[in-house]
């Protein structure tokens, strides 16, 4: 197992009180596996990603019962040790290629800097690696591009550069936070295909964070669905899409516009909005928006097994419901 996270909690102090952005989140990623973390805005998926890389704001408090990368304990790791991992064996692709690149430096400088920081190689070796990777991500005339600045490139090309940069030090795990949402659909498809291909050929583990269920269905091996700071369902992709258990997962899948819905007729939607995480919530977080909610949902709901390698945080998942109910306090 490449990455193993158990009971991750992140608390961010705000003016209104402590914000519990991530609550008891557990998941793991193996080599060559793609894990998708799905959820709407404000459900804690980006904070989860940032906490893996030690990039949380200074005021945030992170705790976990277990957090290992390739067997190394990440909880007790010093800043220096995290820095040696980050960009090296563990790298990240951010959402906005506009802001992820430094506008004042050439692409060559930015690509080679990562390599020089971790590999202590000479600049020529770094340059060669940069050219090789730019070609791998489908950029023509790569050697000439090294002298260019980010503003000279289109959004799609910039995101290719960001991907190349993430690959400079041959990482084992890539965390990609909505890497294609800022791009056109045609470019999105090209880049996702490229990422999947690179991942397979290099045996990378990947955590893809997104709100796009269509995208998830195309690339995920395993899916974690988050809602209001909690994991509410975790299953292999095939199982999740064929047999979604949590009412939120089902409602989310139902509200994606799809040719199977009758045209110009109302789409299924979820009433209300994602709750604020500033107050600590008791019981099921989805309760207020759920069509099946009842009094029993007011107590804390554990994640329970609802199938092979499939867990859901709900007491109303059909056959499993009586069992789960009896275990609840």
């Amino acid at each position: 197992m490449l990455l193993n996270v158990q009971n991750l909690n992140v608390m961010i102090p705000t003016q209104g009180g402590p914000l519990h952005a991530v609550q008891d989140v557990s998941f793991s990623v193996s080599k060559g596996e793609t894990l998708c973390i799905v959820g709407e805005s404000g459900c804690g998926k980006s904070v989860t990603a940032l906490s893996l890389l030690g990039l949380l704001p200074k005021s945030a408090k992170r705790s976990a019962s277990r957090m290992t990368f390739d067997g190394q304990d990440m909880i007790t790791m010093s800043d220096k040790q995290i820095r040696a991992l980050r960009g090296n064996r563990l790298s990240m692709i951010f959402q906005e290629p506009m802001t992820a690149l430094n506008p004042l430096h050439t692409l060559g400088r930015q690509l080679t800097d990562v390599y020089m920081a971790h590999r202590r190689g000479n600049r020529e070796a770094a340059r060669q690696r940069a050219v090789y990777l730019l070609e791998r991500v489908g950029i023509a005339k790569a050697a000439e591009r090294l002298g260019q600045y980010p503003h000279e490139l289109s959004g799609g090309l910039r995101q290719r550069v960001v991907i190349a940069m993430a690959l400079m030090c041959e990482p084992e795990l890539i965390v990609a936070d909505e890497p294609t949402t800022a791009l056109d659909v045609t470019i999105q498809a090209e880049l996702l295909r490229l990422l999947a291909e690179l991942q397979k050929s290099m045996g990378l583990g990947m955590i893809m964070i997104t709100h796009d269920l269509g995208l998830v269905s195309r690339i995920a091996d395993r899916v974690v669905v988050m809602y209001a700071g909690q994991v509410i369902e975790n299953a292999l992709a095939k199982e999740l899409f064929e047999n979604p258990k949590h009412p939120y997962t089902r409602a989310l899948l139902g509200s994606v516009p799809d040719p199977s819905h009758p045209r110009m007729q109302p789409l299924p939607s979820i009433p209300g909005t994602v709750p604020s995480l500033v107050q600590k919530m008791e019981g099921c977080h989805f309760r207020d928006r759920c069509a099946f909610a009842s009094e029993e949902c007011r107590v804390p709901i554990p994640l329970v097994g609802v199938g092979a390698e499939h867990v859901a945080r709900c007491i109303k998942t059909g056959a499993q419901a009586p069992n789960a109910r009896s275990t609840a306090p």
């Binding site: 805005s41 269905s217 064929e242 516009p257």
Partner: protein, 289 residues
């Protein structure tokens, strides 16, 4: 121009640049090229295309915010550039993509929604407030939001405020530029459902600009596909999505990632040559229907 056309565009072209600068003239970029179509009463006309294809420029031209370099836009048969902003606003309103920046953070919801009436200057304050409350109710926000500020509201609620503001002068045509792309999926369907309901209730006509093919397929009666400033295909929604004629339309449809577990990411294989071929491919514009 057909009889029931609200808005009629003929051979509209728009160039950016070409201004006088120290070294001569800045280079011109043709954002919209030779676009002609009618927006008819009851239509939901979808405009799709990649970023930079001229969708938003076209929307601005339709609103009379941007005079076209060539060609003409007629609103009820009158050239839109000869009409005052007020007269245009009586007929056409606009919903922007980002409900976080389209609402004034210093105005209360009631002020925001009632502001178009204030500008028109026909009602007194009490009447404006009454109408604003009524509109808030229609878009599904209770009137307890009347004194709230945009910062206290979620994205979906803000977009409802923007819709209420757009409808308070009872326009006939609503131009929506990516109305749901800043919203979550679960909220997106709430807003799309609301737009469909309001269309029934007020007999509205919509122009919807979007890059989300699934939304356009669900919502529209007719579709115009834009590529490099030109309309490369235009027909009824059924035809465009059922039997796409232009290679660019097919590319857009193929690259849409619908929920389909195990299908993988499609291999589009578009190189520069394929794009050149698409650019030179004749367009399919059907003016019937």
């Amino acid at each position: 121009m057909s009889k029931d056309a609200i808005l009629s565009l003929s051979n509209v072209t728009h160039d950016f640049g070409g201004r006088r600068v120290i070294t001569g003239r800045s280079p011109t970029i043709r954002a919209v090229e030779d676009v002609s179509f009618d927006v008819r009463k009851g239509d939901i006309l979808g405009i799709v295309g990649e970023s930079g294809s001229g969708k938003t420029t076209l929307a601005k031209i339709m609103l009379g915010l941007l005079p076209p370099t060539q060609g003409e836009v007629l609103l009820d048969g009158t050239p839109i550039i000869e009409m005052s902003r007020k007269r245009i606003a009586e007929r056409i309103q606009f919903i922007f993509q980002d409900p976080y920046s389209s609402l004034n953070p210093r105005q209360s919801v009631g002020q925001i929604v009632g502001y178009p009436l204030y500008l028109r200057g026909q009602e007194n304050a009490a009447e404006r407030d009454r109408k604003a409350r009524e509109l808030l109710d229609i878009v599904g926000l209770s009137s307890r939001f009347f004194d709230a500020y945009p910062s206290q509201m979620s994205g979906g609620q803000r977009q409802r405020v923007a819709i209420a503001r757009a409808l308070i002068t009872r326009p006939d045509l609503l131009i929506c530029d990516e109305p749901t792309s800043a919203l979550d999926v679960s909220v997106q369907s709430q807003v799309l459902n609301l737009l469909l309901e309001l269309r029934e209730e007020f007999g509205l006509t919509y122009v919807m600009v979007s890059h989300n093919m699934a939304v356009i397929q669900h919502m529209t009666t007719r579709v115009a596909v834009m590529f490099l400033g030109r309309i490369v295909e235009m027909d009824t929604s059924e035809k465009v999505f059922g039997t796409p004629q232009h290679p660019y339309t097919r590319l857009l449809l193929n690259s849409t990632l619908s929920v389909n577990q195990g299908a993988g990411v499609p291999d589009l294989n578009v190189d520069a040559e394929a794009r050149h071929a698409m650019r030179d491919h004749p367009s399919y514009v059907s003016q019937r229907v």
